[in-house]
């Protein structure tokens, strides 16, 4: 083969690098522009979605603030998050009194992790509402956890009282077979969606076991909205 036949077709390495560099630079500018342009709207959307879920599970709420529970107690979130701190949201009624507390919980469901928010009422020491933050459960089956009336009735007053030492829940939150709920701390599963129902129960139990022992002794700090 004659080398001169090949020569005109080959492009020099420098020109290849130059082209790729140019294209990458141009694309970089486009991406950064799009990111900057949409950042605020996206952040506002996320905050709005969170607020909407919280206001739905704590119906009396008008405003909310973010808190975190650490080993030393609880404090308003902001600045550096301490290691192992648990986030929760205090929701306040229009007159500034505490309407309820919303806490995030997560557990493995059927398809992926089911992330929920549940409302905790310090007055009855119970869970009084749930909402889903993210899930990929089977449509029409697992996603009944947000539509099934009988299942949602479990969360009108789910008992999560602490024991004498305030160290753990007096009774573990348990998911039982549909129709066999006997105690206030049990959850009637949805028949056919047992795995997802269990995930909800586990998410509440796991999160309440850790958070409530830190939260309950300090609940007075939350009674009034800080201005």
């Amino acid at each position: 083969m004659n080398p001169s036949d090949q020569a005109p077709q080959a492009t020099s390495a420098a020109s290849l690098v130059k082209t790729l560099g140019l294209v990458s630079a141009l694309c970089g500018v486009i991406i950064v522009g799009a990111y900057q342009g949409t950042y605020e709207a996206a952040a506002a959307n996320r905050r709005l979605a969170l607020e909407r879920t919280i206001f739905r599970i704590v119906p009396a709420a008008k405003t909310m603030s973010e808190w975190q529970a650490t080993t030393q107690g609880i404090r308003p979130a902001g600045g550096e998050a301490a290691a192992g701190a648990i986030k929760f949201y205090a929701a306040y009624a229009a007159d500034g009194s505490l309407a309820g507390i919303a806490v995030e919980g997560a557990a493995k469901g059927y398809a992926d992790v089911v992330r929920i928010l549940y409302g905790y009422s310090p007055d009855c020491q119970c869970v009084n509402g749930i909402g889903v933050v993210a899930m990929k459960e089977t449509p029409g089956i697992g996603d009944k956890i947000i539509t099934d009336e009988a299942f949602l009735a479990n969360f009108k007053a789910l008992d999560v009282k602490l024991d004498q030492e305030l160290a753990r829940l007096a009774n573990e939150v348990k998911v039982v077979k549909q129709g066999s709920k006997t105690d206030a701390w049990q959850i009637d599963a949805i028949s056919g969606a047992t795995v997802t129902s269990r995930a909800v129960g586990k998410a509440i139990n796991d999160s309440a076991q850790v958070l409530l022992p830190k939260l309950v002794p300090n609940i007075e700090q939350l009674r009034k909205k800080e201005s």
Partner: protein, 215 residues
């Protein structure tokens, strides 16, 4: 002369909508077509997102068609496509978080949608920007129609709703399998069957009328 170029433009546009429809004729981009078409809204959103990426990347590819050496053309196309997919990703997050959750990973997966790379390589890199955009727009709309045909049917059968509006009242027992992954195959199969039957009928009709003229 103007009429001729308009007719050609129209032809470029219609290619993707009917003659070379990406979903029903070329059977391309099946991953999003089967995965996200559980409802009409998801299908339309996915279709529009893909159209946006398709048009923008075809425009850029077409503009740079004389600058890019052929050795690095695929790498260049992928970078360009990935850029616009990222842009779409941000835009959808800013528009609606629910939609973003519903479409999930499939937004990012537009990058590997073979329609887009295929159009960039087979069409945009050989045609001037206007023609490339026209063709890309037609392909995008054709893809959107295809997804909508799947999503609409699946939502009606599988959830008893259309655009989230309940159609049959509370006593309707939805055909849940239609919104599960197998349902995507059932509905796509049914549509392909319909189009194949239509095509066969048309061919038979043409053959028959051809014979008629001959006799």
């Amino acid at each position: 002369m103007k009429d001729l170029s308009q007719a050609k433009n129209f032809d470029e546009f219609m290619e993707g909508i009917w003659r070379q429809n990406p979903v029903f004729v070329m059977v391309l981009g099946m991953c999003p077509a089967l995965a996200v078409t559980v409802s009409a809204v998801n299908a339309l959103a996915m279709g529009f997102a893909t159209t946006f990426v398709l048009v923008c990347s075809c425009l850029l590819v077409s503009l740079m068609r004389k600058l890019v050496p052929k050795e690095v053309r695929i790498a260049t196309y992928i970078v360009i496509i990935a850029t616009f997919v990222t842009v779409v990703d941000y835009i959808i997050q800013a528009l609606s978080l629910e939609l973003y959750e519903a479409l999930g990973a499939f937004i990012q997966l537009i990058v590997v949608n073979c329609i887009i790379l295929g159009r960039a390589e087979a069409h945009a890199s050989k045609h001037p920007p206007l023609t490339a955009i026209t063709n890309a727009l037609g392909m995008g709309i054709g893809f959107t129609i295809g997804l909508f045909a799947l999503g609409g049917v699946r939502e009606i059968l599988g959830a008893g709703k259309f655009f989230g509006v309940s159609l049959f009242g509370a006593n309707f027992q939805p055909w849940v399998v239609m919104v599960l992954p197998p349902g995507g195959f059932f509905v796509l199969g049914a549509w392909l069957l319909l189009f194949a039957a239509l095509k066969r009928r048309k061919e038979a009709h043409l053959a028959a009328s051809g014979d008629g003229h001959g006799a």
